[in-house]
């Protein structure tokens, strides 16, 4: 059987394996379930105590995407470093499939764990605050979710392949959590931020993901945002593929594959 025929199986098995592993991790449960619930509650009480007449569903979906970004950032940003610490990096690089094909299921799994966040914040809203879960465009909502997850997972591939060039990848993960929450308009409209921030938000998948999900749920036209998720996914895949090839080449040339 050739590689093309094996690729879907490799992807499916890898994705399931990593998803199970991440689900068993208390850190990822914290990041993808508990933390978004805390932030959703904070935002809810801030809106309630303030003058903002915000819809709770708006908050719940935004907080859900915050969790998806956190799990992608922490899971994918340190993915290669983690394989190094586990001693599995050489085995993965030495395996017949291209390394990117073994890493991609992992980065997509880290984004998929973020779906727990959306489920958790929607349940939180429904159970504790009586948020009516009425979705305006159910079909487009069902498309928005995987489109966002794939776009974030492929952004994770870019993070994994670039963070590895720095010794302290986890430091970058710690740094980038809040800024992306801020500039992607997850809880705060981007228009409220300084003008120079807006172009930055355009290249970030969470910006379009939250737009697609919100407009499917609350009403509007989510198709352009879904289209942007697809477009960014392709761009991230190309960048991630080349960055990963570059990392592999440098690591082999300098014999630094297992050096932490």
């Amino acid at each position: 059987m050739n590689f093309v025929a094996l690729a879907p199986r490799l992807f499916w098995v890898g994705w399931k394996f990593h998803l199970k592993g991440l689900t068993m991790s208390s850190f990822f449960i914290l990041v993808s379930v508990i933390q978004p619930l805390i932030f959703a509650t904070i935002a809810y009480y801030m809106y309630e105590a303030g003058a903002r007449e915000g819809t709770l569903l708006y908050v719940a979906l935004g907080a859900g995407l915050m969790g998806m970004w956190s799990s992608t950032l922490f899971g994918s940003g340190g993915a290669i470093q983690w394989q190094r610490w586990q001693g599995t990096l050489e085995l993965l690089i030495g395996a017949p499939p291209p390394f990117v094909m073994t890493l991609l299921p992992l980065t997509l799994a880290t984004a998929s764990v973020g779906l727990y966040s959306i489920v958790a914040t929607l349940l939180w809203g429904g159970i504790l605050f009586d948020v009516p879960l009425s979705v305006e465009h159910p079909f487009l909502f069902a498309i928005s979710l995987p489109a966002t997850t794939i776009a974030l997972g492929l952004l994770g591939l870019v993070l994994a392949s670039t963070f590895v060039l720095y010794r302290h990848a986890s430091a970058f993960s710690n740094l980038l959590e809040y800024p992306v929450w801020l500039v992607s308009g997850l809880l705060i409209p981007v228009s409220l931020l300084p003008g120079w921030v807006e172009p930055l938000s355009w290249v970030l998948a969470p910006t379009w993901g939250v737009k697609a999900i919100r407009e499917s749920a609350l009403g509007g036209d989510p198709l352009p945002a879904i289209g942007m998720c697809v477009l960014l996914s392709v761009a991230y895949l190309v960048i991630g593929w080349f960055s990963m090839a570059n990392f592999e080449r440098l690591a082999r040339k300098r014999a630094t594959l297992s050096l932490t």
Partner: protein, 273 residues
Amino acid sequence: MTSRGGTVRERARVIVRIFFIGGLFSYRALFNWITPTMYVTTMLGSPLFQILFFAYLGRFAGLQDDTFFVVGNAVQVSAMAGIYGMTMTIANERQFGTLQPLLATPANRIALFLGRALPVIVNGLIVSAFGFAVGLLLLDFTLSPSAVPPLLVVVVVTVASCTALGMLLGSIGLRARDVFFASNLVYFLMLLVCGVNIPVETLPDWLEAIGRAVPLTHGIEAAREIVAGASLGEVSGLVWTELGIGAAYAATAFLLFRLFEIEGRRRASLETF
């Protein structure tokens, strides 16, 4: 006057040495992985964006002005050092395999325990000061020079109190398998219940009650009043309450530390997971 371990003066000198030098050494040893890059991105970069995030969220929600969020978050970010740092300072002895040799020494346990808090408190103060600087430079926040000394007192007390909560978690870490889950949870819950971003009075009663029973809440309230022009005397009640809460947590933490030490020796389980 002499006693079993030498003169009282000699013993006092040893205790002071364990407190200061031992505390500093343990900090350097346990945090050898904190490089300048790591420090700047984690201890300064993350608080910077946390303050900006909540200040803008506050503007959007129309809840309070920037000052409310700058003060709340600049004080709360010190908990990053107090909670995570202190938990690691105690619990990582077990993770790094140095707990047994440490507890085999006859060192005074109170000095050993409290000395570890000092570098953490200093670190918390640096992070908090950076938070206030962020507010001054990037947001609509002003601070009168006359408010700086009383604010410093309030922040020192609050950071120490937070560190006491970190001590408690660290002591639990001598026994628990995954105490860092609890540290993360406590850190994020503080954002909700301690009046950092929402006035505690607007929370449901049970959440407000939790907030009033943990460090930070009264310190943040006092800091906000100082920034608004109150004197230290006017907020002394809040400061003493914060100090009392911190002392209660520190005492409980030390009792647990001793309990787990004694239990660990008895069951030969000091470093088992």
